[in-house]
């Protein structure tokens, strides 16, 4: 689709918004103003409703009066039909905003003789338009005239005149017509109404019916050319919003927690980016829903609203099951932070799922959503359809900055690690949980397969579901490979024992050294004593020697003195 907007020039066709969700986007503004538009399609596809919505929404949203000319249904039936969509037709008629005219042609009552024209219809229509000041006109199955009147030549000429006249009246008209065999309409009305032709279609594929809409032509305007699925529900028609294929969504660098601190730490320590899409894949029973519920719980704990789409379990079931791992989701529901939306994938077609997801998101305005699991959507459609739907959904949630978590079931048989839906390339972060089977046990290993724009751990962590929530445990890599579960615990035990033994051994050695030191110290002190006694002995010898020496000196002195005296005496003699 070439959605480059051309600058509005004065040549551009003026448009009238229909007010029908999504249609104004496809037509880039609505139906051509002041011109007739043909809505064709098979029975029961919603043509009348389409036209009614155009007129009634015009009155309600854009304050434009309208005229409904019905060739089929009686005004009372019509009033009843639109009452279910929340319109009070009687009141609108009394206010003079809407005029309803039932044109009834009963062939058995009518005899045709000679020339005539449909001026009566023109007058009725003109009167209705002038009395209400109508801007919008619905002619519901004008083809019924063909069964009421036999002169086709007159009828065709008059219809051509009617459509020209409607243009002159400057009203935007919607004309419904039944689809013919090989032609857009049974009576070839598309020849007369050539400005805008919208084809509605109702197809059943694999027992799932989907309504689709296609703009066959739209003169003087760019429009989407694809088939767009649409849905009729209690709010009327919604056409599936067009995907913006321009990848220019604003991104946030804010981070949100996954609810598991260990997982956050694997994701650069802070968790996911706000507004990113996360895929959690894994085989059956690996705890995908638990991860999703933990994520939802974390969101609610941040006081951010979370919407949980469950395609497998009922809300009660999920709440009960999550209570077993210590998550109280009921509390969040009571506070209005969490809302569940459970539906069977086969309830309606994929597009309807998408539309209903859109609507629920628009109504609840969550900050986070969970789709659990997307795998089941395949039941409702083809794989390629699922991918395109998810692409559109991802596009939508990213533009709304909603953090989204998908869970997907991996089949053991799939040779590669791609999910069946092939969405792994579209998501921003992908966690996968894999069975690790060893020693007669099945344990789960969690990997971060990818996480755009952030540092993330390359490690396999063991994923354990405990009473207190989800835990990620370091995986032991031992001689026999990766250890998980009880062998991991055994390994942990063995390591703890080893540690104990080592400390004990260390203690003993310490004491030994202590003892040795004490012995050594004792030896040292005894040697010192010995040394001192030797020193004493030596000192004593020294002293005696000295003493003896002194005494000897003294004696010698005395002796010599005595001798000298003797000599003197001798001389003297």
């Amino acid at each position: 689709m070439a959605s480059k907007k051309t600058p509005p020039s004065n040549k551009t066709v003026a448009k009238v918004p229909t007010g029908i969700t999504g249609l104004d986007e496809i037509t880039e503004g609505g139906l051509p103003a002041g011109r007739p538009t043909l809505i064709c399609g098979t029975a029961g596809v919603g043509k009348t409703l389409f036209g009614l919505e155009f007129v009634l929404k015009g009155a309600k949203l854009y304050n434009e009066p309208g005229v409904i000319v019905t060739f089929e249904e009686k005004p009372e039936d019509l009033a009843m039909n639109v009452a279910s969509l929340g319109y009070d037709l009687k009141k609108l008629q009394d206010k003079g905003i809407i005029s309803v005219d039932h044109v009834h042609v009963e062939r058995s009552e009518i005899e045709e003789t000679g020339e005539y024209d449909l001026e009566g219809l023109f007058i009725r229509l003109g009167y209705a338009i002038d009395s209400t000041g109508a801007k919008r006109v619905l002619l519901d199955t004008i083809e019924n005239l063909f069964s009421g009147l036999s002169n086709q030549g007159i009828l065709r000429a008059e219809l051509r005149r009617l459509f020209n006249w409607l243009k002159e009246k400057k009203v935007t008209a919607v004309i419904t017509a039944e689809k013919g065999d090989g032609t857009l309409t049974r009576q070839g009305l598309e020849e007369y109404v050539s400005d805008c032709v919208i084809l509605l279609d109702h197809r059943v594929t694999n027992q799932v019916s989907t309504r689709r809409l296609r703009i066959v032509k739209y003169r003087g305007s760019i429009h989407g050319t694809n088939e767009y699925p649409f849905l009729i529900d209690e709010e009327g028609i919604s056409v599936l919003p067009v995907t913006s294929l321009q990848l220019n969504n604003d991104v946030s660098s804010q981070r949100v927690s996954s609810g598991m601190p260990e997982l956050d730490s694997m994701l650069g320590g802070k968790g996911f980016f706000r507004g990113s899409t996360i895929l959690v894949s894994g085989t059956a029973g690996t705890g995908k829903t638990s991860i999703a519920a933990t994520f939802a719980d974390a969101s609610c704990k941040r006081r951010e609203k979370c919407l949980y789409f469950a395609f497998e379990e009922s809300p009660q079931q999920i709440i009960r099951n999550m209570r077993s791992i210590g998550l109280d989701l009921q509390k969040h529901m009571d506070e209005g932070l969490l809302r569940f939306h459970s539906s069977r994938p086969t309830l309606y077609g994929l597009e309807s799922h998408l539309v209903s997801i859109h609507k629920k998101i628009a109504a609840f305005k969550p900050k986070a959503i969970v789709l659990d699991p997307i795998t089941n959507l395949i039941i409702a459609g083809q794989i390629s359809d699922v991918k395109s739907i998810l692409l559109r959904l991802i596009d939508f949630v990213q533009s709304e900055k909603i953090t989204t978590m998908f869970t997907a079931l991996n089949l053991n048989t799939s040779p590669n690690e791609q999910t069946d839906e092939g969405v792994s390339s579209l998501v921003d972060a992908w966690l996968t949980i894999r069975d690790i089977e060893s020693n007669g046990e099945r344990n789960h290993g969690l990997y971060v397969m990818k996480s755009r724009g952030m540092k993330h751990s390359n490690q396999v962590r063991e994923f354990v579901i405990t009473d207190g929530g989800l835990k990620l445990v370091d995986v032991y890599v031992g001689a026999e490979g990766i250890l998980t579960g009880s062998s991991r615990e055994a390994q942990q035990l063995a390591e703890a024992t080893g540690l104990e033994l080592r400390t004990y051994a260390l203690g003993r050695k310490d004491r030994e050294i202590d003892r040795k030191r004490k012995v050594l110290e004792a030896t040292i002190s005894s040697l010192r004593e010995e040394f001192e006694s030797v020193q004493d002995e030596l000192n004593k010898t020294y002293l005696e020697e000295d003493l003896r020496k002194q005494i000897t000196e003294k004696n010698r002195a005395e002796l010599s003195l005595k001798r000298s005296n003797k000599t003197v005496n001798g001389k003297n003699k």
Binding site: D101, H102, V103, H104, V105, E106, E109, I110, E111, E112, T113, G114, E115, Y116, D117, L118, E119, G120, L121, I123, R124, G126, Y127, L145, G148, L149
Partner: protein
């Protein structure tokens, strides 16, 4: 519904000599309308002399009257009485068809 009620009320009043109430819807003095009126007057004088009443409604002047008798084509002749209501559209140029349509002449 209202029409039949009216008819039921009127019937016993007028007894068996049937009174024909005819209404011709036209939109301005177009050639088709004028020829229809001429033709109609001729038939009435011929077949229904003194037991008919004819009302000509110009929808250009009274557009709101068109819905009541479910007028679509112009000109339209409506036989209000006797019931059932019959409508003949066109310029009434085919005498045979008009007489059959008004139930003045059985189908051969």
């Amino acid at each position: 519904m209202a029409k039949t009620n009216k008819a039921v009320k009127k019937k016993p009043m007028q007894q068996s000599p049937e009174r024909w109430e005819l209404r011709l819807y036209v939109a301005g003095a177009t050639p088709k309308s004028m020829s229809a009126l001429e033709n109609l007057k001729r038939f009435c004088e011929e077949y229904l002399k003194n037991k008919y009443s004819l009302e000509v409604v110009d929808l250009l002047a009274h557009p709101q009257l068109a819905a009541g008798d479910q007028i679509l084509a112009i000109p339209t002749l409506v036989r209000k009485m006797p019931v059932p209501i019959r409508k003949i559209i066109g310029d009434l140029s085919n005498e045979e068809k008009v007489l059959v349509g008004l139930n003045l002449k059985p189908l051969n």
